[in-house]
Symmetry: C2
Subunit: 493 residues, 2 copies
């Protein structure tokens, strides 16, 4: 039996705009700690699967480059053996999990999968490891094992899992539960109303659905097929056979265009609906680990206690007399004055101001911005690259200015541009610059000029990060005016 | 008799932050039209005083450079004959007006002064000229002639002037009043409560106090003295003799340190209190010109009609479902969602979000920011210079990047820096660059390097604006590391 962590890293996180962007969704944000949520998920998974385990990330084709760049620049995971499972299209978790199970099984027929969302904030450590080990043991007989959180309040934003029977210990004495147990599941409940949620909390055997799952890979595929057989009239399971067949076809031959096309034609159906709510082989391990689904911008309030008026100023802001208000800013000066129940989230290039009870509707703002085609929903001012990152400082008619950071030892591709000349001014570190075949070292305060059409390459020759300011001048400055040669990251455009 | 326009241009405009800054107060903002409010005031004054008239600007010592730079870059006023009367310190309008009167009288004993605030939004043209001509005529006998606006609503934010008797025509038929008349003033009323304001509107001979004044210069000084004589117990007039004496002393010898010091010791007293409310020689010319005192950020609402929910999006923003809300942004993407009665004003480096009924308290925010010493209250990202402007694009550890625009034919000073090297990349136009005695022409896409400690000068050699990006690299990058030589604007620091 091999342990395979499957991190679902393809989420779009539109509820976290303007902090999140299409190319930098919630799981890639470093807001809640030193690391991003997806790195946190990798760290937690590692604690469970150990050094012998395997790490997989499921991600969509549109996000793979950004995610890879994000992880490549991490000091531990940048050099780790990570397997990327690419969803040809976003089809929700039933197709994604089937694909992951089929891919993993191709190399390891006895694989046990630990599937984790990448955009939740969860405690690692002893209680976490104990919980997951119980789930792994419980999955040995082919069960699909979910993880349930003891509900500490009547949340209406989560689904609930009702167990048959009850875990030892009651919600009141969660902290005392030393050894979690796996219980059979009676039913799944979708987001309830407040009265029901209150009842569930009191009832004692309802748990918040964490979205985590532990199961043998073969059991995942087999259950997809079995629930369809056992529930021939269920529309949720109607396509399960096609899902499994498609996943297996892609796993057997990942370059098969037909398979990829078939995947794209699959229904968007969550694994909970397609399998868990219909299967009799589902268990739940109740646990009291700290957990948050980081479901809205209000999650930012966890970063800091409120003042006597219920208001939080996090970052560079200032507040006078606001009540129950969040003033969050990355880097700019944001002043709030006499507001009530308002959420302000400020970033370098975009600001959201929402009524507190409307934060979930940020999705509507994003939808409208999408319709207008504004760049601020696609990416932030900073773009992660395999060699480091660049930050757009300004874009004007005929020129743009970027700050570029290159990690020690890294190189950009050998490249040239048809439409722009570039000036590089070194701010810190030591650059190894090749222009038209001539190599030179360029230190802080020095600069080089790269004319239109001339081959050039930038490398960090030092042991510290290299920082340069790039001023590009030309009539056309799009990212697609890069002709790459000899790229150490295998990119050719 | 010479006509002298006196534009009071020293206001600080803290109620307009973050649009206004200490070094760019409200009167210098270009928000309500193609020109700034102070340029509008100059244009209006010109219509009245004509080509033979004289133009004076009263401004504080801290703001004189910024105001001069602001006007120097204007295509008409940049080359006009403007006289700057410098207040040694901000002492409100009684000392300021006394100083202006004394300065003007020194050259022109028969001077008639037309005093205009520089930060109001007022209609020019025929009705304006007719109004001011009536005021000029009425001032011939030594009267102090104010301008009153027909009140169109019971405003509690303005002072009112009550006339003895009544102008021809009633508020209801303002538009029909062809010829304004000057009426004797019965009394001045400070900002009233709502019930009183309502009564004033109905009464028919109350007018909003516009803050404009027409009077002979000698009458201004004489009335300062007379009201003190006639009201020996009035504390508001108690220092009038000292004010006049100090103003005359400075006018006689503007380099007299003692006079400047005496001015700084004067009380901060408005001319309304020190003279107008006490004098029997005050008249009012009622007029129905369009007028706004631009008293708060809510004045921005005049720029655009509201949608069906009472909400305005002015600039780059987007709104969903907000009521009675202003979403104003210079340049950035600001999204508002489900707000009520909220004012959002966004600039490149700072954002204010205020409850609608608290916009006047922006002053408190500014006071607090002042206490914290944040740069965002002092100046915006753009600084006007006599030769054009610069805009700070970014400031990082050890470097800063500016965009510099030089107007055709202009030159920066010959200068050098002790702590930083500079790279200039020309974006548009043709630069004439002198470095260490060597002159060279630098065109778009080309760049030059200025090492630490080397004399250099930048000039615009072309007929179009010259735009360059300047990357400065060094441990210290403050504006005070500039040693100037041969500055065509007479600056030596």
């Amino acid at each position: 039996m091999g342990l395979h962590a499957i991190i679902l890293a393809g989420g779009s996180g539109t509820r976290f705009w303007p902090l999140s962007r299409e190319l930098a969704p919630k799981q890639m944000l470093t807001v809640f700690g030193d690391d991003s949520l997806v790195v946190d998920a990798l760290n937690r998974a590692q604690q469970v699967v150990g050094d012998e385990g395997h790490m997989h990330l499921v991600v969509g084709a549109t996000l793979i480059d950004e995610l890879r760049n994000h992880l490549l620049s991490h000091e531990v995971w940048g050099s780790a053996d990570l397997n990327y499972i690419i969803e040809p299209a976003a089809r929700n978790t039933a197709p994604a999990l089937a694909l992951a199970a089929a891919v993993v099984m191709a190399d390891d027929p006895d694989a046990v999968i630990i599937m984790l969302p990448s955009d939740h904030l969860t405690e690692g450590g002893e209680r976490w490891i104990a919980t997951m080990n119980v789930a792994i043991d419980a999955a040995a007989d082919g069960s699909l094992v979910t993880v349930g959180l003891y509900p500490t309040s009547p949340e209406t934003g989560f689904g609930y899992i009702q167990a048959r029977g009850q875990a030892e210990g009651q919600p009141g004495d969660q902290a005392d539960i030393a050894v979690p147990t796996a219980l059979p599941v009676k039913r799944f409940v979708e987001k309830p109303n407040y009265a029901d949620a209150k009842r569930y909390v009191q009832h004692g055997n309802y748990y918040w659905n964490s979205g985590m799952l532990v199961a043998r890979a073969d059991a995942i595929l087999q259950q997809l097929l079995d629930v369809h057989t056992n529930n021939p009239t269920s529309s949720d399971a109607a396509k399960n056979d096609v899902i499994v067949a498609t996943a297996r076809a892609i796993a057997a031959n990942s370059d098969d265009g037909a398979g990829l096309q078939a995947f794209t034609a699959l229904p968007k159906v969550p694994f909970d609906k397609a399998v868990l709510e219909l299967s009799s082989k589902v268990k739940v391990v109740p646990t009291c680990i700290d957990w948050s689904d980081v479901g809205s911008l209000l999650s930012l309030e966890a970063l800091q206690g409120a003042n006597e008026r219920g208001t939080r100023v996090i970052g560079q802001g200032i507040d006078l007399d606001s009540h129950n208000t969040l003033n969050y800013s990355d880097s700019r000066l944001v002043a709030t004055l006499g507001l009530s129940d308002t959420v302000v989230v400020d970033t370098a290039d975009a600001t959201l101001i929402a009524a507190r009870d409307r934060v979930q509707d940020v999705r509507e703002i994003v939808r409208e911005l999408h319709r207008r085609g504004v760049p601020e929903i696609r990416q932030s001012q900073t773009s992660l690259r395999p060699w480091g990152s660049w930050t757009m400082l300004t874009r004007g008619t005929g020129y743009q200015v970027k700050e570029i950071e290159v990690i020690a030892g890294a190189s950009l591709s050998m490249q040239k541009h048809q439409q722009r000349s570039e000036h590089w001014i070194v701010i810190a570190g030591m650059a190894d610059v090749e222009i038209d075949g001539q190599q030179q070292m360029v230190g802080a305060g020095q600069s080089v000029f790269i004319p239109v059409g001339v081959l050039h390459r930038l490398s960090n020759a030092g042991t510290e990060p290299l920082r340069i300011v790039e001023v590009a001048v030309g009539d056309y400055l799009g990212e697609d005016d890069i002709e790459r040669f000899d790229d150490q990251y295998g990119r050719d455009t």
